[in-house]
């Protein structure tokens, strides 16, 4: 008891709330996973406006194959993780908080309205958030304008959030 109290007192307040995933070694791991993903994004052409057009025109299996097989691998791993319930490398339990349906009078409003708006943006820009960063890194510097616009969109949502059905 005493030691726990002492520990709590010696810990600065901000420190106690720090997410373990923010420790330097973990940050390096996230940087490397990001680099791995960015490299695959570019080499498989999922960052390409041409490929997104091809997908929305149903003229190739490429994008469907990528998203479908990624989901398959993801779903099988999630099932295994749920069965084994392992501790993470940060020592926590895996958090798989389900998405809430929301309490709007319009059923699932945020998912289909927000989803449709996002899809419109995806088809116009030909890139979703991950690919925006990969394209920036691969030398398409004009994407910095798209990133700023996406930040403006995020900010606009934050401002309008109290008035939108969720």
């Amino acid at each position: 008891m005493t030691t726990a109290t002492q520990e709590a007192q010696t810990q600065p307040q901000g420190e106690a709330r720090t997410v373990p995933a923010n420790r330097p070694l973990f940050l390096l791991a996230y940087l490397l996973i990001g680099a791995y993903l960015g490299l695959i994004f570019v080499q498989s052409e999922v960052v390409s406006w041409f490929r997104i057009q091809e997908m929305f025109r149903f003229q190739s299996f490429h994008m469907y194959g990528i998203i479908g097989s990624a989901v398959l691998v993801g779903a099988v791993s999630v099932q295994i993780i749920k069965r084994l319930n392992p501790r993470t490398l940060t020592g926590e339990r895996v958090q798989l908080s389900p998405k809430e349906w929301g309490d709007s009078r319009i059923p699932a409003a945020r998912y289909w309205i927000g989803g449709t708006l996002f899809g419109m943006g995806w088809a116009l820009l030909g890139a979703c958030p991950g690919p925006i960063f990969a394209l920036l890194g691969s030398g398409i510097t004009v994407m910095v304008v798209a990133l700023l616009a996406a930040l403006a969109g995020t900010w606009a949502y934050a401002a309008l959030r109290p008035y939108l059905p969720h």
């Binding site: 720090t18 990001g34 993801g74 779903a75 995806w122 116009l124 979703c128 890194g137 403006a152 606009a156």
Partner: protein, 191 residues
Amino acid sequence: MLETLLGPWPWYVAGPLIGLVVPLFLLLGGRAFGVSSNLRHMCAATPTPRSWKPEFLRYDWKSSGIWNLTFVLGIALGGFLALTLIGIPDAGQSISEATRADLRALGIQDFSGLLPADLFSWGSLLSPASLILIVGGGFLVGFGARYAGGCTSGHAISGISNLQLPSLVAVLGFFAGGLLVTFGLLPLILS
């Protein structure tokens, strides 16, 4: 081997490799894989007076988001490695002939690289079509992703992997919006 690396990586290689990020995220830090929440962290990190920020952007982005921001920095680094180590694939050449024909009919002429340079370059940025595509598209991506609570990674990959119905609704929305733009708006914008 080198030729295999240079062409577009096939879906059955790229898809499973992307899917592996879902368990990597869960086992490393216990968090779900998602990119677009970083746009929120970046807004929250913007150095403006606190009173300018909507409630949604007032939180401790450092403790909840540094790891995720490091991850997107990594994605950009991956793009740079692709450029310098392997080279950017010519997606405009590897897409189906049918798509090229459709896009040619819309006035697109440059099929080299990842994006049509006629629309996505600094030189064309101020043309109405480019502004709608880059600024309008970017804005909707940011707005829609936060409204829907996730983007392609958070809903289509992480969400459906966890068999979440709301994510399926969101993905159906992604497609509804994409089809609306592709077959409804794009011919108007590019004409």
